[in-house]
Point group: C2
Chain length 211, copies 2
C-alpha cells in the first residue's frame, strides 16, 4: 500500500484539495491560510461558508503574537494543541484555569460554569491578549460581558465554542459586536481543534519554520 | 441574558436535541450514548449516519477499561481530553509518544510520520489495549499493519483520524477488517475531540460520577 507519509506533503496536498471550496469566497491570501487550516482540522469543507473573520482580525492577531501577547483559553485541549515552540519564539504563554481549585470554588459559589469562572478570574489579564475559546459557550458569553461591562479589551477573540446549547448564540453575539476583532464560525460547529487551527495559522503566518 | 450555566444540564439538554437525529438508526441505549457524545463534541448532527460501531466494540471497550487496560493514542490532544480521574479508578493509563526523541529519530530514519513511528514503537504493548487515533491516518494504517502482519491484538480500536489525505481510506480499511472491534466514522471528518468523546462515553458507561 502506498500513502503519503511526509507531514508537509500531507498538509500541502490537503490545502490543494480544500482550495476549490474557497475560490468563490473572495479571500485574501492570509484568509485562505486560516480557512484552509480550519477545514483541514475538521476534515469538513462545510466550514467554508460559515467562517467569519472580522476586518482587522488577522492583523490584530499577528501583531499581538509578534509582540509576545499571551493566549487565554477555556480548555486544556486548546493549550495542548497550540504550537508552543513557535509561540515561545515571540514570548507568549498560554493560560488555562478551568481545572484550578479557586475556579472550581468560584463556580460553585456563583452557580456558574468553571469555564465562565476562569474567564472572570483572568479579568484584566485579557487586555491586549488573544482569547481562544474552543469549547464552552459560557466562557465566550463571559468574555463578551467583560468587554461590554468592564471595558476589558483583548487584541483578538477566537470564539469557536461547540454544541447545541448556547454555542450558536454566543458566536452570533461575538460577530455582532464591533469593538474587538474576532474569528468565529456560525452555528453549532466548532471545538478545540478549530481554535487551535486559527492560533497556529496566525503563528505560521509569522514564522513558517517547523520542527 | 439568560443561559444555562450548569454543566450537567447543558449536556442533558444537548443530548435531548441530538436524540431525534438518532431515532431511525436502530441503536441500543449504549450506542445512543456514544453517538450522542460524538455529535455533542463536533456540534454536528451530520455525524449520525457516518458513525460505525462494530458489534462487539462497546462490550470489548468496557471490559478492557474495567480491567485497567491502557490507552494508546497518536496525539497529545487526545490524552488531554480523556477523563483521567475516571480512567485511573480502573487502573488504566494513557500513552502518547509522538513528541519523543526516539520516535522522531525512527521517523526520520524510516521516512515515515512520527505518529506512525510511535505506533510501531508501542508494538506489543498494544495487545489488549485501547487504541485511540484522533488525528493521523498514517498512525491508523500502521496499527492495522501491526494487526495484520505482526499479530498485534488491541481490545478495541477507536480510529477517527481526520482530513483529506488518507483519513477516509484508513478508516475504510479499519471498518473492512473483522479481527479487532472498532469505532470509526466514514469519510474525512474526525479528530481528537471525536476520539476523546468515544473513550469518555465508554468510561461514563462504567462510572457516571463526575467531579
Amino acid at each position: 500500500m502506498q500513502f503519503i507519509t511526509e507531514p508537509m506533503s500531507i498538509e500541502e496536498k490537503s490545502f490543494e484539495i480544500i482550495a476549490p471550496h474557497l475560490k468563490n469566497l473572495n479571500l485574501s491570501a492570509e484568509e485562505i491560510k486560516i480557512y484552509s487550516r480550519i477545514i483541514h482540522a475538521a476534515g469538513d469543507v462545510d466550514y467554508a461558508p460559515i467562517i467569519k473573520i472580522s476586518e482587522r482580525a488577522i492583523q490584530a492577531g499577528k501583531s499581538a503574537l509578534e509582540r509576545g501577547a499571551n493566549i487565554f483559553t477555556d480548555v486544556e485541549m486548546v493549550r495542548t494543541g497550540i504550537n508552543k515552540r513557535v509561540l515561545k519564539k515571540f514570548g507568549g504563554e498560554i493560560f488555562c484555569k478551568v481545572a484550578d481549585a479557586e475556579v472550581k470554588k468560584i463556580a460553585v459559589q456563583n452557580k456558574i460554569t468553571r469555564s465562565m469562572a476562569a474567564m472572570r478570574l483572568f479579568g484584566k489579564n485579557l487586555n491586549n491578549s488573544i482569547v481562544a475559546i474552543g469549547n464552552a459557550p459560557t466562557a465566550l458569553f463571559e468574555v463578551l460581558r467583560l468587554v461590554r461591562e468592564e471595558n476589558i479589551s483583548p487584541a483578538l477573540i477566537i470564539g469557536v465554542p461547540v454544541g447545541f446549547v448556547g454555542a450558536a448564540d454566543s458566536k452570533a453575539q461575538l460577530a455582532a459586536q464591533s469593538k474587538i476583532p474576532f474569528v468565529t464560525v456560525e452555528g453549532t460547529k466548532g471545538g478545540s481543534p478549530i481554535a487551535v487551527s486559527v492560533v497556529n495559522a496566525l503563528l505560521y503566518l509569522l514564522d513558517n519554520s517547523r520542527d
